[in-house]
């Protein structure tokens, strides 16, 4: 099969000097909110541009505007947008439909919800192909199989008949990319294409995009919050903040020597997997506070039974941080919950200071991943933080308020915010509330389950710093459960790598990261996107070696 462009004459005429994408003074307003405010950029044919920014910077809004997707939604779009020769603002509905999918195709963030759950993947791709060509049903279906095969779906003929829920996350994203390739577009717009994926799968998808670009010569507009993902995949990068361009230039220049304060701040906040942790004062204590041995937890019954955690033993020492890192489904959350006592182990035991534990107690507390759903939206944050105090028998309202005020102050919030509700806080502030609630019980150990994965990098850095501070002041032991290898290295004294319910490698953080012994650990580390394009290229080569062809 061939994916080369069959350029016809008109296309060739048009594209001699015109850029693939020209955006001039673009503004997009939703009511009084200006999501994009006077943005201009060009993308040459076959080039790759990364739009990088934190949540709310307007980067995804720009991506949608390129295909005219704001039409009919009530958003006000100003400025001019030209994509592959089409004036998006002035185009008729029919012209827009001709642009979408045929000349410029979009790959979305969440590959599960982005495909229709009721139809076979191959049929969905064929449908898109038939919209833009006069192909017969049969030819369209064959084309679907072709592109699925092209993006590396094994046994594409058979798998094209599967529905999206029968695919893994990475395969769904491949299927979406296949849909994008179906009509051989000149431009691929990828909106956070790897955010929902595990780091090793992310690396595969980024490598796939890289190869496809080399082979087809299509342009790429990559929207991402992850500077590392951009560094891996694009030539130019445009840093956005509050709907405006902060800095725009070649990747190496912008990321290597940023000219703007915000870009420097953003880069400084990005945790790096290469960087050693600044030695923590508290490490080196020999007292074991929490000890787990032979932990096993099964879910399901009979034939469906499987062990989410299988024979895990670990120790946590006073004042240290134990990082537990693993991909989705590795059992790290289940393990964390057993350590706190939220889940009873099927086998094995957890000891706190030598005594057998069962159930939740004040000494070991937890901070949860999602600060939105782990706080009751109908209760003020003060009431939520006061719960552990009341549970311990504090009845004096004055003292409760005083203590909650102290805790709020301790995590960097205004003590007067007692009576506010969770929705009045930002994500980072809510996570601070979650930490204050865990502190209220005066614990000696806090298990943090993905405490920063829902946060932007700058907020993430602040919350990580807060946890470090609290640890030093209060002599807390932390168990830091996360999928992000760089964040875990930043905070941990010792690290355990989990895979399929077992710990495959553990030891002092620097040893594990600098000299990984287990092949899986090596694979994980090679998959981490690098900020330096040269390191990125080197890791890509390592990945090619590690993956059997």
């Amino acid at each position: 099969m061939s994916l080369e462009k069959h350029s016809n004459e008109t296309q060739a005429d048009r594209s001699q000097d015109a850029a693939l994408v020209e955006v001039d003074d673009l503004t997009v307003a939703f009511g009084s909110l200006r999501a994009v405010d006077g943005l201009s950029f060009r993308l040459a044919k076959g080039a790759a541009l990364g739009l990088v920014g934190e949540s709310g910077s307007g980067k995804s809004t720009v991506a949608s505007a390129l295909l005219g997707l704001h039409r009919g939604t009530g958003a006000e779009v100003g400025g001019t947008i030209r994509v592959a020769g089409t004036d998006v603002q002035a185009a008729s509905e029919a012209e827009l439909r001709g642009l979408r999918g045929a000349k410029a195709a979009m790959v979305f963030q969440d590959p599960l919800s982005s495909l229709d759950p009721y139809y076979a993947v191959g049929d969905q791709i064929a449908e898109v192909y038939r919209v833009h060509t006069k192909a017969s049903r049969r030819a369209a279906r064959a084309r679907a199989v072709d592109v699925l095969d092209r993006v590396g779906i094994p046994d594409a003929v058979r798998r094209s008949r599967s529905r999206p829920h029968e695919f893994s996350g990475g395969m769904r994203q491949r299927a979406l990319i296949a849909m994008a390739l179906a009509c051989e577009p000149e431009l691929l717009i990828a909106d956070e294409p790897t955010t929902a994926l595990d780091v090793t799968v992310q690396a595969q998808i980024l490598d796939l995009l890289h190869t496809l670009r080399e082979e087809t010569g299509m342009g790429l507009l990559l929207v991402t919050h992850d500077v590392g993902v951009a560094a891996e995949s694009v030539d130019d990068v445009l840093v956005m903040r509050h709907g405006r361009a902060v800095e725009h230039g070649p990747v190496a220049a912008v990321l290597g020597a940023p000219g703007q304060a915000y870009t420097r701040e953003l880069l400084a906040a990005v945790p790096r997997v290469e960087a050693r942790r600044v030695p923590a004062d508290a490490s080196g204590s020999a007292d074991v506070v929490l000890e787990a041995s032979g932990l096993r937890r099964e879910f399901g019954r009979g034939k469906r039974a499987f062990a989410a955690v299988d024979d895990v033993s670990l120790t946590v020492r006073r004042g240290e941080t134990l990082g537990i890192v693993g991909e989705s489904g590795s059992g790290k959350t289940t393990l964390g919950r057993m350590l706190v006592g939220l889940l009873e182990p099927t086998a094995g035991e957890v000891r706190y200071e030598g005594r057998l534990r069962s159930g939740v107690g004040p000494a070991v507390q937890m901070v949860f991943q999602d600060p939105v759903s782990s706080l009751n939206p109908r209760r003020s944050v003060g009431e939520s933080i006061a719960d552990p105090l009341r549970a311990r028998g504090e009845r004096d309202e004055g003292r409760v308020r005083e203590r909650v005020g102290e805790l709020l102050g301790r995590v960097g919030l205004d003590p007067a915010h007692f009576d506010r509700y969770p929705h009045e806080f930002s994500g980072g502030q809510r996570q601070r509330v979650g930490i204050a609630r865990a502190l209220a019980a005066e614990p000696h150990v806090i298990v943090c389950d993905e405490p920063v994965s829902a946060l932007d990098v700058t907020t993430q850095a602040q919350v990580v710093a807060l946890l470090g501070e609290l640890q030093r002041e209060l002599g807390l032991a932390l168990v830091f459960v996360a999928h992000d290898l760089a964040v875990v290295r930043q905070v941990s004294d010792r690290v355990a790598v989990m895979r399929r319910g077992r710990i495959v490698e553990s030891g002092p953080a620097d040893e594990v990261y600098d000299n990984p012994q287990n092949p899986y650990t090596r694979q994980l580390l090679a998959a981490v996107p690098a900020l330096d394009p040269e390191i990125a290229a080197w890791r890509r080569a390592v990945r090619r070696e590690l993956t059997p062809a």
Binding site: R97, R100, G101, L115
Partner: protein
């Protein structure tokens, strides 16, 4: 999908339906036969002497313990029963639901005679309510936010709020009385004259369908709007798929499973629930017969009718579960 898993799922549903039917039969039997009132006296009539009442009680085996009577009842259903009606002995072959206290007629035959009427009513009404309801729902989802949708939403609200006898009466007065377009409905068996069967049932169908379709319009519209807000619809828009395909192929598909679930229960309950329509249009169906039987405390008929209704509801639900699983393959089969 795993075929053996699916077969097992169907088998489990069938077993579940049988257990449910059995439970229903016990409850209905106990509730009706333990109800206060001297059944023998009522059956015999007010002018019976105590001796005659006693004789009736013996014939009806009213002095046997309840579990024994229930056992005989089950026996009748599975193997048949002999009944002595004073002088002669009547054989009632399986499935036997007993004899009417009033007429000594076999309940099974009585129900079988009325079933085609109610079945015709339910089937035709269902086709119409699906057409009207789903059509209205699709139209309002397509024209969302425009005057068309507002008018349709108002109409469906009115439909939900109007009792069937009001619509039926109005239709009958206008269509049959004023315009004389149709005859006043009178049941003609399908086998006798299919054309007359349809013409006569048209008004009852319409009245039922207009009321019922409101629910379907709302459900269709709600599911479609929900689907239209989902990410995968955005995907197809971003790939240049036209609004017609998005509505007709992607949005409507999401409404199929809930529609099946609702329709199956509605269709099942039509067999016991169309009392008002049958009475209004004078159709001699199950609902009509049930009302008559309740009036004279003809317990075997009442019990038989309620059981048959329960049977249809349970079967319809089991069928709905299976169809639902076929319509939405993501359903975990348990």
């Amino acid at each position: 999908m795993n075929l053996s898993g699916f077969g097992g799922f169907v088998a489990r549903r069938v077993v579940g339906a049988i257990v449910t039917l059995f439970a229903i039969s016990v409850i209905i039997y106990v509730v009706f036969y333990v109800a206060p009132g001297n059944v023998a006296q009522i059956t015999c009539g007010p002018r019976c002497s105590p001796a005659q009442v006693h004789q009736v009680a013996e014939q009806l085996r009213l002095d046997d313990p309840l579990y024994l009577r229930y056992w005989h009842f089950l026996e009748g259903i599975f193997v048949g029963q002999d009944y002595s009606t004073g002088t002669s002995v009547q054989h009632c072959s399986a499935p036997c639901l007993g004899l009417s206290y009033q007429t000594d007629q076999q309940v099974t035959e009585l129900i079988l005679a009325k079933l085609p009427v109610t079945g015709s009513l339910a089937l035709g009404a269902m086709v119409l309510w699906l057409l009207i309801g789903v059509g209205t729902g699709v139209l309002s989802a397509w024209r969302r936010g425009r005057p068309t949708e507002r008018v349709l939403t108002g109409l469906t609200l009115a439909g939900t709020a109007t009792p069937v006898f009001v619509i039926g009466l109005i239709l009958m007065i206008v269509v049959c009385g004023q315009l004389e377009l149709l005859p006043f409905p009178q049941y003609v068996p399908f086998a006798d004259d299919p054309e007359q069967w349809a013409w006569n049932l048209l008004l009852p169908w319409l009245s039922l369908a207009l009321i019922e379709s409101a629910k379907y319009a709302r459900l269709t519209r709600a599911s479609m709007l929900e689907t239209l807000a989902e990410d995968h619809v955005r995907t197809f828009r971003a790939y240049g798929v036209g609004e017609r395909s998005i509505i007709g192929r992607h949005a409507l598909r999401g409404a199929v499973a809930p529609l099946i679930a609702l329709n199956a229960t509605d269709f099942g309950s039509m067999f016991g629930g169309a009392v008002l329509t049958e009475t209004l249009f004078g159709l001699p169906g199950l609902g009509h017969e049930l009302v008559e039987a309740v009036k004279v405390v003809d317990l075997p008929v009442v019990v038989g009718m309620v059981l048959v209704t329960g049977f249809f509801v349970v079967i319809a639900n089991a069928v709905a579960d299976v169809l639902y699983a076929v319509a939405d393959r993501r359903v975990v089969l348990v």
